[in-house]
Protein backbone atom coordinates (compact mmCIF):
# COMPACT_ATOMS: atom_id res chain seq x y z
CA UNK A 1 0.00 0.00 0.00
CA UNK A 2 1.24 3.46 -0.84
CA UNK A 3 2.24 5.77 1.91
CA UNK A 4 0.59 9.14 1.65
CA UNK A 5 2.34 12.14 0.15
CA UNK A 6 2.42 15.44 2.01
CA UNK A 7 0.96 16.74 -1.27
CA UNK A 8 1.30 20.50 -1.39
CA UNK A 9 -1.42 21.82 -3.65
CA UNK A 10 -1.11 21.00 -7.36
CA UNK A 11 -3.72 20.78 -10.06
CA UNK A 12 -5.39 17.42 -10.54
CA UNK A 13 -4.45 17.24 -14.20
CA UNK A 14 -0.83 16.32 -13.59
CA UNK A 15 1.90 16.13 -10.96
CA UNK A 16 4.83 17.04 -13.15
CA UNK A 17 6.30 20.48 -13.75
CA UNK A 18 8.84 22.12 -16.00
CA UNK A 19 12.09 23.84 -15.08
CA UNK A 20 11.25 26.96 -17.05
CA UNK A 21 14.28 28.61 -18.65
CA UNK A 22 14.62 31.61 -20.93
CA UNK A 23 14.67 29.73 -24.28
CA UNK A 24 11.16 28.47 -23.52
CA UNK A 25 9.59 31.59 -22.02
CA UNK A 26 7.79 32.49 -25.21
CA UNK A 27 6.81 28.95 -26.25
CA UNK A 28 5.26 28.06 -22.90
CA UNK A 29 3.28 31.28 -22.74
CA UNK A 30 2.09 30.79 -26.32
CA UNK A 31 1.31 27.05 -26.17
CA UNK A 32 0.35 26.73 -22.50
CA UNK A 33 1.01 22.98 -22.29
CA UNK A 34 -0.66 21.14 -19.40
CA UNK A 35 1.87 21.35 -16.57
CA UNK A 36 1.43 20.99 -12.84
CA UNK A 37 3.74 23.95 -12.27
CA UNK A 38 6.61 25.98 -13.60
CA UNK A 39 9.77 26.14 -11.55
CA UNK A 40 12.22 29.03 -11.94
CA UNK A 41 15.44 30.03 -10.27
CA UNK A 42 14.43 32.65 -7.74
CA UNK A 43 17.54 34.79 -8.24
CA UNK A 44 16.71 35.35 -11.92
CA UNK A 45 13.70 37.37 -10.77
CA UNK A 46 15.26 39.45 -7.99
CA UNK A 47 14.13 42.70 -9.57
CA UNK A 48 11.85 45.53 -8.67
CA UNK A 49 10.44 45.50 -12.18
CA UNK A 50 11.41 44.95 -15.79
CA UNK A 51 10.97 42.33 -18.48
CA UNK A 52 11.92 39.18 -16.56
CA UNK A 53 9.51 39.89 -13.74
CA UNK A 54 6.79 40.77 -16.24
CA UNK A 55 7.22 37.38 -17.93
CA UNK A 56 7.02 35.51 -14.63
CA UNK A 57 3.96 37.49 -13.57
CA UNK A 58 2.34 36.61 -16.89
CA UNK A 59 3.13 32.92 -16.40
CA UNK A 60 1.76 33.00 -12.86
CA UNK A 61 -1.65 33.85 -14.30
CA UNK A 62 -1.70 30.42 -15.97
CA UNK A 63 0.43 28.12 -13.80
CA UNK A 64 1.41 27.58 -10.20
CA UNK A 65 5.03 28.68 -9.83
CA UNK A 66 7.67 27.04 -7.67
CA UNK A 67 10.61 29.25 -6.67
CA UNK A 68 13.85 27.30 -6.53
CA UNK A 69 16.86 29.20 -5.27
CA UNK A 70 20.53 28.54 -5.83
CA UNK A 71 22.09 31.32 -3.78
CA UNK A 72 20.74 31.40 -0.22
CA UNK A 73 23.75 29.46 1.05
CA UNK A 74 21.69 27.77 3.75
CA UNK A 75 24.66 25.89 5.19
CA UNK A 76 26.93 28.88 5.59
CA UNK A 77 28.60 29.28 8.97
CA UNK A 78 28.57 33.07 8.54
CA UNK A 79 24.79 33.11 8.29
CA UNK A 80 22.40 34.28 5.62
CA UNK A 81 22.58 37.43 3.54
CA UNK A 82 19.77 39.70 4.71
CA UNK A 83 19.57 41.37 1.31
CA UNK A 84 19.09 38.00 -0.40
CA UNK A 85 16.36 37.02 2.02
CA UNK A 86 14.66 40.39 1.49
CA UNK A 87 14.66 39.85 -2.27
CA UNK A 88 13.25 36.35 -1.90
CA UNK A 89 10.55 37.54 0.50
CA UNK A 90 9.52 40.28 -1.95
CA UNK A 91 9.35 37.75 -4.79
CA UNK A 92 7.30 35.33 -2.70
CA UNK A 93 4.95 38.15 -1.83
CA UNK A 94 4.57 39.09 -5.49
CA UNK A 95 4.28 35.61 -7.05
CA UNK A 96 2.57 33.61 -4.27
CA UNK A 97 4.48 30.45 -5.23
CA UNK A 98 3.22 26.94 -4.67
CA UNK A 99 6.58 25.97 -3.14
CA UNK A 100 9.89 27.67 -2.28
CA UNK A 101 13.22 25.87 -2.05
CA UNK A 102 17.00 26.01 -2.03
CA UNK A 103 19.85 23.59 -1.36
CA UNK A 104 21.65 22.02 1.59
CA UNK A 105 24.84 23.75 0.55
CA UNK A 106 27.00 26.76 1.21
CA UNK A 107 28.69 29.38 -0.96
CA UNK A 108 29.00 32.34 1.35
CA UNK A 109 31.91 33.02 3.66
CA UNK A 110 34.56 35.46 4.69
CA UNK A 111 37.11 36.54 2.15
CA UNK A 112 40.68 35.54 2.81
CA UNK A 113 42.00 38.13 0.37
CA UNK A 114 39.97 40.99 1.82
CA UNK A 115 39.56 40.53 5.58
CA UNK A 116 36.12 41.54 6.77
CA UNK A 117 34.55 41.18 3.35
CA UNK A 118 32.02 38.51 2.44
CA UNK A 119 32.35 36.48 -0.75
CA UNK A 120 29.89 34.17 -2.49
CA UNK A 121 31.19 31.39 -4.73
CA UNK A 122 27.97 31.24 -6.80
CA UNK A 123 27.95 27.46 -6.55
CA UNK A 124 26.34 24.70 -4.50
CA UNK A 125 29.25 23.65 -2.30
CA UNK A 126 28.84 20.68 0.03
CA UNK A 127 28.59 20.91 3.77
CA UNK A 128 29.82 18.24 6.18
CA UNK A 129 27.20 15.97 7.70
CA UNK A 130 27.97 16.61 11.36
CA UNK A 131 26.37 18.17 14.41
CA UNK A 132 27.82 21.66 13.97
CA UNK A 133 26.82 21.79 10.33
CA UNK A 134 23.30 20.60 11.19
CA UNK A 135 22.96 23.30 13.85
CA UNK A 136 23.96 25.97 11.33
CA UNK A 137 21.68 24.62 8.61
CA UNK A 138 18.71 24.36 10.99
CA UNK A 139 19.19 27.92 12.25
CA UNK A 140 19.40 29.31 8.74
CA UNK A 141 16.42 27.33 7.44
CA UNK A 142 14.39 28.40 10.47
CA UNK A 143 15.30 32.03 9.75
CA UNK A 144 14.05 31.64 6.18
CA UNK A 145 10.81 30.01 7.28
CA UNK A 146 10.23 32.68 9.91
CA UNK A 147 10.74 35.40 7.34
CA UNK A 148 8.68 33.82 4.57
CA UNK A 149 6.04 32.52 6.98
CA UNK A 150 5.82 29.26 5.07
CA UNK A 151 7.25 25.79 4.94
CA UNK A 152 10.50 25.77 2.99
CA UNK A 153 12.01 22.89 0.99
CA UNK A 154 15.68 21.89 1.08
CA UNK A 155 17.30 19.86 -1.70
CA UNK A 156 20.06 17.27 -1.50
CA UNK A 157 23.19 18.01 -3.53
CA UNK A 158 25.30 16.34 -6.10
CA UNK A 159 28.74 17.07 -4.70
CA UNK A 160 32.16 16.56 -6.18
CA UNK A 161 34.18 16.85 -2.99
CA UNK A 162 33.33 15.49 0.42
CA UNK A 163 34.44 16.42 3.87
CA UNK A 164 36.23 13.76 5.90
CA UNK A 165 34.74 13.12 9.32
CA UNK A 166 36.66 14.82 12.13
CA UNK A 167 38.24 12.73 14.87
CA UNK A 168 35.76 11.61 17.54
CA UNK A 169 32.90 12.72 15.34
CA UNK A 170 30.11 10.24 14.69
CA UNK A 171 29.56 9.51 11.02
CA UNK A 172 26.14 10.74 9.90
CA UNK A 173 24.67 9.68 6.60
CA UNK A 174 23.10 12.25 4.31
CA UNK A 175 19.52 10.93 4.65
CA UNK A 176 19.78 10.95 8.46
CA UNK A 177 21.23 14.46 8.33
CA UNK A 178 18.41 15.75 6.11
CA UNK A 179 15.77 13.92 8.13
CA UNK A 180 17.07 15.59 11.29
CA UNK A 181 16.85 18.93 9.50
CA UNK A 182 13.23 18.27 8.58
CA UNK A 183 12.37 17.08 12.08
CA UNK A 184 13.98 20.05 13.83
CA UNK A 185 12.74 22.82 11.53
CA UNK A 186 9.57 21.36 10.04
CA UNK A 187 10.93 22.05 6.57
CA UNK A 188 10.22 19.72 3.67
CA UNK A 189 12.75 17.87 1.55
CA UNK A 190 13.17 18.25 -2.18
CA UNK A 191 14.72 14.96 -3.28
CA UNK A 192 16.83 15.20 -6.43
CA UNK A 193 16.98 11.62 -7.67
CA UNK A 194 19.59 12.40 -10.31
CA UNK A 195 21.84 13.93 -7.64
CA UNK A 196 21.62 10.69 -5.67
CA UNK A 197 22.68 8.67 -8.69
CA UNK A 198 25.52 11.05 -9.63
CA UNK A 199 26.88 10.80 -6.08
CA UNK A 200 26.55 7.01 -6.17
CA UNK A 201 28.42 6.80 -9.49
CA UNK A 202 31.23 9.00 -8.20
CA UNK A 203 31.36 6.92 -5.03
CA UNK A 204 31.74 3.87 -7.25
CA UNK A 205 34.68 5.53 -9.04
CA UNK A 206 36.16 6.09 -5.59
CA UNK A 207 35.88 2.40 -4.78
CA UNK A 208 32.47 1.99 -3.17
CA UNK A 209 31.28 -1.55 -3.77
CA UNK A 210 27.75 -2.47 -4.75
CA UNK A 211 25.16 -1.39 -7.23
CA UNK A 212 24.75 2.43 -7.43
CA UNK A 213 21.01 2.06 -8.06
CA UNK A 214 20.62 0.02 -4.88
CA UNK A 215 22.64 2.61 -2.94
CA UNK A 216 20.15 5.25 -4.09
CA UNK A 217 17.18 3.08 -3.20
CA UNK A 218 18.55 2.55 0.29
CA UNK A 219 19.04 6.33 0.60
CA UNK A 220 15.38 6.83 -0.28
CA UNK A 221 14.31 4.12 2.14
CA UNK A 222 15.96 6.09 4.95
CA UNK A 223 13.80 9.15 4.27
CA UNK A 224 10.42 9.63 5.94
CA UNK A 225 7.79 9.90 3.17
CA UNK A 226 5.93 12.72 4.90
CA UNK A 227 9.07 14.90 4.66
CA UNK A 228 9.20 14.78 0.85
CA UNK A 229 7.39 17.57 -0.99
CA UNK A 230 9.00 17.48 -4.44
CA UNK A 231 11.30 15.37 -6.60
CA UNK A 232 13.75 16.60 -9.24
CA UNK A 233 14.75 14.61 -12.32
CA UNK A 234 17.52 15.56 -14.76
CA UNK A 235 20.33 14.22 -16.87
CA UNK A 236 24.04 13.96 -16.11
CA UNK A 237 27.24 13.30 -18.06
CA UNK A 238 30.24 11.04 -17.69
CA UNK A 239 33.58 12.82 -18.05
CA UNK A 240 36.40 10.49 -18.99
CA UNK A 241 39.70 10.42 -17.13
CA UNK A 242 42.42 12.70 -18.44
CA UNK A 243 45.66 10.68 -18.34
CA UNK A 244 47.75 13.82 -18.87
CA UNK A 245 46.45 15.37 -15.67
CA UNK A 246 47.33 14.06 -12.24
CA UNK A 247 44.00 15.42 -10.99
CA UNK A 248 42.17 14.15 -14.05
CA UNK A 249 40.13 11.28 -12.64
CA UNK A 250 36.95 10.25 -14.38
CA UNK A 251 33.96 11.96 -12.84
CA UNK A 252 30.20 12.13 -13.30
CA UNK A 253 28.81 15.65 -13.56
CA UNK A 254 25.28 16.76 -12.79
CA UNK A 255 25.08 18.99 -15.84
CA UNK A 256 21.30 18.89 -16.47
CA UNK A 257 22.14 18.53 -20.14
CA UNK A 258 20.45 15.35 -21.34
CA UNK A 259 17.43 13.12 -20.92
CA UNK A 260 16.84 11.32 -17.65
CA UNK A 261 18.73 8.02 -17.87
CA UNK A 262 17.15 4.59 -17.38
CA UNK A 263 18.70 4.06 -13.96
CA UNK A 264 17.36 7.38 -12.65
CA UNK A 265 13.88 6.47 -13.93
CA UNK A 266 14.24 3.19 -12.05
CA UNK A 267 15.22 5.02 -8.84
CA UNK A 268 12.35 7.45 -9.39
CA UNK A 269 9.90 4.56 -9.57
CA UNK A 270 11.29 3.31 -6.27
CA UNK A 271 10.77 6.78 -4.81
CA UNK A 272 7.18 6.87 -6.03
CA UNK A 273 6.47 3.46 -4.55
CA UNK A 274 7.84 4.65 -1.22
CA UNK A 275 6.55 8.23 -1.16
CA UNK A 276 3.42 8.01 -3.29
CA UNK A 277 2.73 10.62 -5.98
CA UNK A 278 4.93 13.64 -5.37
CA UNK A 279 5.17 16.86 -7.43
CA UNK A 280 8.02 16.18 -9.80
CA UNK A 281 10.19 18.48 -11.89
CA UNK A 282 12.05 17.88 -15.14
CA UNK A 283 15.18 20.09 -15.14
CA UNK A 284 17.31 20.84 -18.18
CA UNK A 285 19.85 23.67 -17.98
CA UNK A 286 22.65 22.89 -20.44
CA UNK A 287 22.17 22.60 -24.20
CA UNK A 288 18.48 23.14 -23.68
CA UNK A 289 16.48 21.20 -26.32
CA UNK A 290 13.17 22.12 -27.97
CA UNK A 291 10.21 22.29 -25.61
CA UNK A 292 8.77 19.10 -27.15
CA UNK A 293 11.68 17.08 -25.74
CA UNK A 294 11.01 18.37 -22.25
CA UNK A 295 7.30 17.71 -22.59
CA UNK A 296 8.15 14.15 -23.62
CA UNK A 297 10.20 13.68 -20.43
CA UNK A 298 7.35 15.18 -18.44
CA UNK A 299 4.92 12.72 -20.03
CA UNK A 300 7.16 9.81 -18.98
CA UNK A 301 7.18 10.97 -15.37
CA UNK A 302 3.45 11.53 -15.45
CA UNK A 303 2.90 8.02 -16.83
CA UNK A 304 4.91 6.51 -13.98
CA UNK A 305 2.83 8.39 -11.43
CA UNK A 306 -0.38 7.38 -13.17
CA UNK A 307 0.80 3.77 -13.20
CA UNK A 308 1.14 3.58 -9.43
CA UNK A 309 -1.32 1.26 -7.76
CA UNK A 310 -4.06 3.67 -6.75
CA UNK A 311 -1.97 6.50 -8.15
CA UNK A 312 -3.15 9.95 -9.09
CA UNK A 313 -4.28 10.86 -12.56
Amino acid sequence: MLESSPGLSVPDRTWVGLGWRQPHYEAVLAQRPPLAFLEVHSENFFAQGGAALAVLTQARAHYPVSLHGVGLSLGSAVGLDGWHLDQLAALVQRIDPVRVSDHASFARGRSVAAPGAIVHAADLLPIPFNAESLDVLCANVQQVQDRLQRRFMVENLSSYVSWPAQANEPVVGEPDFLSALARRTGCALLVDVNNLYVNALNAQINGLAGDPVQHCQRWLDAITPADVAEIHLAGHCHVAADPRDEAGSAIVMDDHGSRVCAEVWQIYQHALRRFGPVPTLIEWDTDIPPLAVLLDEIAKAQALIAGLKGGAT
Binding site: E43, Q48, G49, G71, A77, V112, V161, I205
Partner: protein, 270 residues
Protein backbone atom coordinates in the same frame (compact mmCIF):
# COMPACT_ATOMS: atom_id res chain seq x y z
CA UNK B 1 36.33 30.81 14.15
CA UNK B 2 34.34 27.58 14.35
CA UNK B 3 35.61 24.40 12.73
CA UNK B 4 32.84 24.61 10.15
CA UNK B 5 33.62 28.24 9.30
CA UNK B 6 37.30 27.36 8.90
CA UNK B 7 36.45 24.47 6.57
CA UNK B 8 34.19 26.65 4.49
CA UNK B 9 36.68 29.50 4.28
CA UNK B 10 39.40 27.10 3.11
CA UNK B 11 37.23 25.79 0.29
CA UNK B 12 36.17 29.29 -0.74
CA UNK B 13 39.78 30.40 -0.75
CA UNK B 14 40.77 27.44 -2.90
CA UNK B 15 38.07 28.39 -5.41
CA UNK B 16 38.18 32.17 -5.37
CA UNK B 17 41.81 33.06 -4.73
CA UNK B 18 44.06 33.13 -7.76
CA UNK B 19 44.29 29.51 -8.95
CA UNK B 20 46.86 27.52 -7.06
CA UNK B 21 48.34 24.25 -8.20
CA UNK B 22 48.14 22.89 -4.67
CA UNK B 23 44.64 24.08 -3.86
CA UNK B 24 43.41 20.55 -3.31
CA UNK B 25 46.02 19.92 -0.61
CA UNK B 26 44.89 23.00 1.25
CA UNK B 27 41.41 21.77 1.93
CA UNK B 28 42.20 18.12 2.72
CA UNK B 29 39.36 16.79 0.67
CA UNK B 30 41.48 15.21 -2.00
CA UNK B 31 41.56 11.76 -0.52
CA UNK B 32 39.13 10.46 -3.12
CA UNK B 33 39.97 10.00 -6.80
CA UNK B 34 37.27 12.41 -7.85
CA UNK B 35 38.06 15.03 -5.19
CA UNK B 36 40.76 16.84 -7.16
CA UNK B 37 38.74 16.62 -10.35
CA UNK B 38 35.72 17.84 -8.43
CA UNK B 39 37.56 20.89 -7.17
CA UNK B 40 38.57 21.64 -10.74
CA UNK B 41 34.94 21.25 -11.78
CA UNK B 42 33.88 23.86 -9.23
CA UNK B 43 36.65 26.18 -10.42
CA UNK B 44 35.66 25.69 -14.06
CA UNK B 45 32.02 26.27 -13.24
CA UNK B 46 32.94 29.56 -11.54
CA UNK B 47 34.88 30.67 -14.58
CA UNK B 48 32.03 29.72 -16.91
CA UNK B 49 29.55 31.61 -14.74
CA UNK B 50 31.86 34.64 -14.71
CA UNK B 51 32.10 34.67 -18.47
CA UNK B 52 28.37 34.21 -18.92
CA UNK B 53 27.55 36.95 -16.41
CA UNK B 54 29.91 39.48 -17.99
CA UNK B 55 28.73 38.67 -21.51
CA UNK B 56 25.16 39.27 -20.39
CA UNK B 57 25.89 42.55 -18.63
CA UNK B 58 28.54 43.84 -21.04
CA UNK B 59 27.66 42.75 -24.60
CA UNK B 60 29.41 45.72 -26.23
CA UNK B 61 32.60 45.32 -24.19
CA UNK B 62 32.44 41.65 -25.23
CA UNK B 63 32.22 42.65 -28.90
CA UNK B 64 35.01 45.20 -28.55
CA UNK B 65 37.36 42.76 -26.83
CA UNK B 66 36.39 39.57 -28.64
CA UNK B 67 35.01 36.45 -26.95
CA UNK B 68 38.41 34.95 -26.15
CA UNK B 69 39.76 38.06 -24.45
CA UNK B 70 36.48 38.50 -22.61
CA UNK B 71 36.86 34.98 -21.22
CA UNK B 72 40.35 35.77 -19.91
CA UNK B 73 39.08 39.07 -18.50
CA UNK B 74 36.15 37.30 -16.78
CA UNK B 75 38.47 34.81 -15.09
CA UNK B 76 40.83 37.55 -13.90
CA UNK B 77 37.95 39.69 -12.64
CA UNK B 78 36.29 36.68 -10.94
CA UNK B 79 39.38 36.13 -8.79
CA UNK B 80 40.14 39.82 -8.26
CA UNK B 81 36.61 40.79 -7.25
CA UNK B 82 34.56 37.67 -6.47
CA UNK B 83 30.79 37.95 -6.09
CA UNK B 84 29.59 39.35 -2.79
CA UNK B 85 26.06 37.98 -2.96
CA UNK B 86 24.08 35.07 -4.34
CA UNK B 87 22.52 36.95 -7.23
CA UNK B 88 25.08 36.86 -10.01
CA UNK B 89 23.30 39.67 -11.85
CA UNK B 90 24.64 41.98 -9.13
CA UNK B 91 28.25 40.98 -9.89
CA UNK B 92 30.24 43.11 -12.29
CA UNK B 93 29.73 46.64 -11.01
CA UNK B 94 33.47 46.96 -10.46
CA UNK B 95 34.39 46.11 -14.03
CA UNK B 96 34.65 49.71 -15.34
CA UNK B 97 37.27 50.58 -12.69
CA UNK B 98 38.98 47.21 -13.26
CA UNK B 99 39.25 47.99 -16.98
CA UNK B 100 40.50 51.51 -16.30
CA UNK B 101 43.24 50.15 -14.05
CA UNK B 102 44.34 47.41 -16.46
CA UNK B 103 47.79 47.99 -17.91
CA UNK B 104 47.01 45.47 -20.65
CA UNK B 105 44.07 47.58 -21.81
CA UNK B 106 45.83 50.94 -21.60
CA UNK B 107 45.61 51.23 -25.38
CA UNK B 108 41.80 51.03 -25.17
CA UNK B 109 41.06 53.85 -22.73
CA UNK B 110 37.44 54.22 -23.85
CA UNK B 111 36.51 50.69 -22.70
CA UNK B 112 35.95 51.70 -19.08
CA UNK B 113 33.44 54.38 -20.05
CA UNK B 114 31.62 51.99 -22.42
CA UNK B 115 31.43 49.57 -19.49
CA UNK B 116 29.97 52.30 -17.26
CA UNK B 117 27.18 52.87 -19.77
CA UNK B 118 26.58 49.14 -20.12
CA UNK B 119 26.35 48.64 -16.36
CA UNK B 120 23.78 51.45 -16.22
CA UNK B 121 21.76 49.68 -18.91
CA UNK B 122 22.11 46.38 -17.07
CA UNK B 123 20.85 47.78 -13.78
CA UNK B 124 17.90 49.71 -15.19
CA UNK B 125 16.61 46.50 -16.78
CA UNK B 126 15.43 45.47 -13.31
CA UNK B 127 14.36 48.91 -12.03
CA UNK B 128 10.85 49.32 -10.69
CA UNK B 129 8.19 49.69 -13.35
CA UNK B 130 6.45 52.98 -13.75
CA UNK B 131 3.45 53.63 -15.94
CA UNK B 132 3.24 56.66 -18.20
CA UNK B 133 0.53 59.21 -17.48
CA UNK B 134 -0.20 60.89 -20.82
CA UNK B 135 -3.14 62.84 -19.42
CA UNK B 136 -0.82 64.66 -17.04
CA UNK B 137 0.85 66.51 -19.93
CA UNK B 138 -2.08 68.90 -20.03
CA UNK B 139 -0.47 70.51 -16.98
CA UNK B 140 2.25 71.85 -19.28
CA UNK B 141 -0.42 73.96 -21.00
CA UNK B 142 -2.22 75.14 -17.90
CA UNK B 143 0.36 75.53 -15.13
CA UNK B 144 3.39 77.67 -14.50
CA UNK B 145 6.62 75.64 -15.08
CA UNK B 146 7.75 76.75 -11.64
CA UNK B 147 4.91 74.66 -10.23
CA UNK B 148 5.64 71.49 -12.20
CA UNK B 149 8.13 68.65 -12.09
CA UNK B 150 8.79 66.12 -14.84
CA UNK B 151 8.62 62.36 -14.22
CA UNK B 152 11.32 60.50 -16.12
CA UNK B 153 11.58 56.83 -17.08
CA UNK B 154 12.84 54.24 -14.55
CA UNK B 155 16.57 54.35 -14.05
CA UNK B 156 17.17 57.40 -16.25
CA UNK B 157 20.84 58.46 -16.04
CA UNK B 158 23.20 60.76 -17.91
CA UNK B 159 26.82 59.64 -18.20
CA UNK B 160 29.43 62.07 -19.50
CA UNK B 161 32.55 60.72 -21.17
CA UNK B 162 35.63 62.00 -22.94
CA UNK B 163 34.93 59.32 -25.54
CA UNK B 164 32.11 58.77 -28.05
CA UNK B 165 30.44 56.20 -25.79
CA UNK B 166 26.91 56.73 -27.08
CA UNK B 167 28.03 56.25 -30.70
CA UNK B 168 30.00 53.12 -29.78
CA UNK B 169 27.03 51.67 -27.92
CA UNK B 170 24.54 52.44 -30.68
CA UNK B 171 26.86 51.16 -33.41
CA UNK B 172 27.24 47.81 -31.67
CA UNK B 173 23.68 47.43 -30.45
CA UNK B 174 21.67 48.61 -33.44
CA UNK B 175 24.10 49.49 -36.23
CA UNK B 176 23.35 53.23 -36.19
CA UNK B 177 25.82 54.86 -36.64
CA UNK B 178 27.92 52.30 -38.46
CA UNK B 179 30.95 50.85 -36.73
CA UNK B 180 33.12 52.82 -39.19
CA UNK B 181 31.38 56.08 -38.29
CA UNK B 182 31.71 55.36 -34.56
CA UNK B 183 35.38 54.55 -35.13
CA UNK B 184 35.90 57.92 -36.84
CA UNK B 185 34.58 59.63 -33.71
CA UNK B 186 36.88 57.49 -31.57
CA UNK B 187 40.16 58.52 -33.14
CA UNK B 188 39.88 62.25 -32.32
CA UNK B 189 38.22 61.33 -29.00
CA UNK B 190 34.91 63.09 -29.55
CA UNK B 191 33.38 63.53 -26.10
CA UNK B 192 29.78 62.36 -25.74
CA UNK B 193 27.26 62.20 -22.95
CA UNK B 194 25.18 59.04 -23.01
CA UNK B 195 21.58 59.06 -21.89
CA UNK B 196 20.21 55.73 -20.65
CA UNK B 197 16.62 55.03 -19.68
CA UNK B 198 14.06 52.28 -19.90
CA UNK B 199 11.52 52.61 -22.69
CA UNK B 200 8.78 50.44 -21.21
CA UNK B 201 10.59 47.20 -20.49
CA UNK B 202 13.45 47.84 -22.94
CA UNK B 203 16.67 49.57 -21.80
CA UNK B 204 17.65 52.29 -24.27
CA UNK B 205 20.68 54.49 -24.90
CA UNK B 206 21.41 57.49 -27.11
CA UNK B 207 23.63 60.54 -27.13
CA UNK B 208 22.25 63.42 -25.09
CA UNK B 209 21.33 66.39 -27.23
CA UNK B 210 22.54 69.94 -26.61
CA UNK B 211 21.62 71.09 -23.11
CA UNK B 212 19.83 67.83 -22.34
CA UNK B 213 22.39 66.50 -19.85
CA UNK B 214 22.16 69.59 -17.63
CA UNK B 215 18.38 69.65 -17.97
CA UNK B 216 17.90 66.00 -17.02
CA UNK B 217 20.41 66.29 -14.18
CA UNK B 218 18.30 69.10 -12.76
CA UNK B 219 15.08 67.12 -13.21
CA UNK B 220 16.65 64.06 -11.60
CA UNK B 221 17.76 66.27 -8.70
CA UNK B 222 14.09 67.06 -8.10
CA UNK B 223 14.07 70.60 -9.39
CA UNK B 224 10.98 72.28 -10.78
CA UNK B 225 10.62 72.45 -14.55
CA UNK B 226 11.35 76.19 -14.65
CA UNK B 227 14.52 75.71 -12.62
CA UNK B 228 15.64 72.82 -14.81
CA UNK B 229 15.07 74.89 -17.95
CA UNK B 230 17.10 77.75 -16.49
CA UNK B 231 20.00 75.39 -15.88
CA UNK B 232 19.95 74.25 -19.52
CA UNK B 233 19.66 77.29 -21.81
CA UNK B 234 20.96 75.27 -24.78
CA UNK B 235 17.96 72.94 -24.69
CA UNK B 236 15.03 73.63 -27.00
CA UNK B 237 12.29 72.28 -24.74
CA UNK B 238 9.55 72.38 -27.37
CA UNK B 239 11.76 70.42 -29.73
CA UNK B 240 12.71 67.95 -26.97
CA UNK B 241 9.23 67.29 -25.59
CA UNK B 242 7.49 65.22 -28.27
CA UNK B 243 10.35 62.75 -28.92
CA UNK B 244 10.88 62.39 -25.16
CA UNK B 245 7.25 61.34 -24.75
CA UNK B 246 7.31 59.08 -27.81
CA UNK B 247 10.41 57.22 -26.64
CA UNK B 248 9.01 56.92 -23.09
CA UNK B 249 11.85 58.96 -21.63
CA UNK B 250 9.27 61.35 -20.20
CA UNK B 251 6.38 59.60 -18.46
CA UNK B 252 4.40 62.43 -17.00
CA UNK B 253 4.19 65.68 -15.09
CA UNK B 254 3.43 66.24 -11.42
CA UNK B 255 2.95 69.32 -9.30
CA UNK B 256 6.21 70.51 -7.79
CA UNK B 257 6.40 70.21 -4.03
CA UNK B 258 9.23 72.58 -3.08
CA UNK B 259 9.55 71.51 0.53
CA UNK B 260 8.51 67.90 0.19
CA UNK B 261 10.92 65.02 0.24
CA UNK B 262 11.44 63.39 -3.13
CA UNK B 263 9.38 60.21 -3.31
CA UNK B 264 11.21 56.98 -4.12
CA UNK B 265 8.85 56.39 -7.01
CA UNK B 266 6.93 59.15 -8.62
CA UNK B 267 3.24 58.77 -9.14
CA UNK B 268 2.04 61.09 -11.87
CA UNK B 269 -1.18 62.87 -11.01
CA UNK B 270 -3.33 65.34 -12.82
Amino acid sequence: MSALAAQQQALLDALLAWPKDNAIEKIAIGASKTGARGLKAYQSNGHALAERALKAAYPVVTQLLGAQSLGALARAFWHAQPPRCGDLAQWGDGLPAFLAASAQLAQEPYLADVARVEWALHTIASAADQAADPASFVLLMTQDPAELRLVLAPGCQVLASAWPVASLMSAHLNGRPSLAEAGQRLRPAVAETALVWRAGLRPAVREARAGEAAFLAAVLAGQALAQALNSAPALDFNDWLAPAVQTQLLLGVVRFEPTGKMPDHDTPTH
